[in-house]
């Protein structure tokens, strides 16, 4: 590999001059510039990133800490991050925390959870990353962990701590939008199969739904609201309960596609037609949504956009450390299929 010294020798100048030509850090005479460029081409010179970083203290590398790359929204976000970073000449060190096995619910293992995050952060810091993007939802302990960190940090997907930059999607507005969509299709008796009762997304989405109803002077009766646990089976169970009601809803808003799939199965078995007898909508636009019968109308999470935006924010923070924290909430779009 040719070094700067080789080029300098070839062009008959000093390495300083070569450096200035390469980086455009100083005005040089056209002749010298030309000579150097020729020499660079001839030697097939490419600057050594390590030396550059060692000297300058910047690696042009972003550490991306993901809870689990196998989670679908995570992959989309990483994809967006990567695309945006590469366009600006940044690399990405990915570190997977392997948190898909839900140990974060089990108190005795929280230590191990923290441990994994700490290890991840150490790994990234030892890689001299210029900034870190944390991708995931389970950020409860992060404020504690990241506190003593001087590296710029952006949360993607999760909300981070209040004093940090994050970019996420809108739970409330999206749910409200979907509700309005159902209303616009003439549905007034809308039932909800919510997620886990004490979870943040459940609360926000519920709020959005109720707001949208209220705006048109309607209210969801208590017996139309059923809480599941995000899983397929709970969609089944809760829908069965709903069908027992004396006055049936005409539309069913499941807070994710998995539960919506459960709904549809029950409706099918009960001989109800979708959407004629009952409309169903979901949330997430997972792969399964396209293959349900009928294909499910649902909400698309803006994963790529979240990634893109997080990447832009981290670069901004790096180049301008005094940037105030940004809280960005990206809107979701409705994917219209045939279940309404």
């Amino acid at each position: 590999m040719a070094t700067m010294r080789d080029v300098a020798q070839l062009a008959g100048v000093s390495t300083a001059t070569v450096s200035h030509v390469v980086n455009g850090t100083k005005k040089l005479s056209p002749e010298t510039t030309e000579k150097v460029l020729m020499a660079i081409a001839e030697a097939n010179y490419t600057p050594n990133t390590l030396a550059k970083s060692l000297r300058s203290g910047q690696t042009h590398t972003i550490g991306v800490l993901v809870e689990d790359i196998r989670g679908l929204p995570v992959a989309g976000i990483v994809s967006g991050i990567n695309e945006t970073l590469s366009k600006s000449g940044y690399r990405m060190i990915l570190h997977d925390l392997h948190l898909l096995e839900k140990l974060y619910n089990q108190y005795e293992q929280i230590g191990s959870y923290r441990q994994r995050i700490n290890n991840g952060v150490s790994l990234l810091q030892s890689s001299n990353v210029d900034g870190i993007i944390y991708v995931g939802m389970h950020d409860r302990h992060l404020d504690y962990l990241f506190d003593p960190m001087e590296t710029p940090l952006v949360f993607a997907y999760s909300h981070g701590t209040q004093q940090d930059t994050y970019v996420t999607y809108s739970n409330q507005d999206s749910a409200a939008d979907m509700t309005r969509y159902l209303l616009s299709k003439g549905h007034e008796r809308i039932a909800v199969i919510a997620g886990h009762p004490h979870s943040y997304p459940t609360a926000r989405r519920m709020h959005g739904i109720q707001m949208a109803m209220q705006q048109v002077g309607l209210v969801i009766p208590e017996e139309y609201i059923r809480y599941g646990n995000w899983e397929y089976e709970s969609g089944i169970d809760q829908t069965r309960e709903l069908l027992k009601l004396p006055v049936r809803p005409t539309a069913l808003f499941a807070m994710n596609d998995l539960m919506a799939a459960g709904c549809m199965r029950v409706l099918n078995e009960a001989g109800l037609r979708i959407p004629e007898d009952m409309a169903v909508v979901g949330f997430d636009n997972r792969e399964i949504a396209s293959y349900l019968q009928p294909p499910l109308t649902t909400i698309q999470l803006p994963t790529t956009e979240i990634g893109t935006s997080a990447a832009l924010h981290i670069m901004e923070k790096i180049n301008n450390p005094s940037t105030p924290p940004v809280r960005e909430i990206i809107h979701c779009s409705i994917i219209e299929r045939l279940s309404v």
Copy 2:
């Protein structure tokens, strides 16, 4: 950040001594070692990776080039790679080629395809990675591209070129296994909904199926073999054709879960019960397989294992450059559900 010089000063020794303590590269007196260790602890010293790499020429970093992280098997493989690498103190630079939009089929865009790969490789090489793992299936042009590369290279998922190390899964054996499984359940009239007719997996899986049949003295009649294109709709179309046959098969082997889902829909609509009237199996174990009615018996790709193994191979190659190429084919397992 404390440097080696600080530690040396604190301990009253030279930096060389500190280096030797840190790396265990030379036998030193217990007293000196102790002094140095104390100083390291006191200064909270952690070695600078950049300086280390610059000097030693090793970065302990692997470049992972993926065709598209949003592809499901890809995420699993990356997950496996990452876990194994971190355990050995390696980092991972991930670069996504964003190839999910199927431009590789369009001849006029092959240039752009190559371009993207070249850019990716350049990015990784400029990051001074110690080795590269290529994750993807579309490796047709790679031998051409990687030829002038001196960096150790391992293919994961795809077959790479014949003279390179790769690790993939077994198409033929898995299909044979599944066929034997069907046979063991008493099915003799097995129909196949194959993938795209000229694709490699289709050919290998077909071969596996036919071998397994032959071994018990059976043969699949030509009209039981139908070619789709891996998509849901083609599962639907081909199953309709199969149902027109005078003698119906008792089992249906779709070469992926999407087509199997299509099959099941048609069978449902035709009023046939699964598995009583017809058994169905798929391939891939995508998310959808669990949520079909009944849940689909299918084949699990060993994604994590592929990743793990690829990571081990690349580290082996780095530490021992003369390692001969390894061709590893990992076996898939059958996920038994209720569709047989």
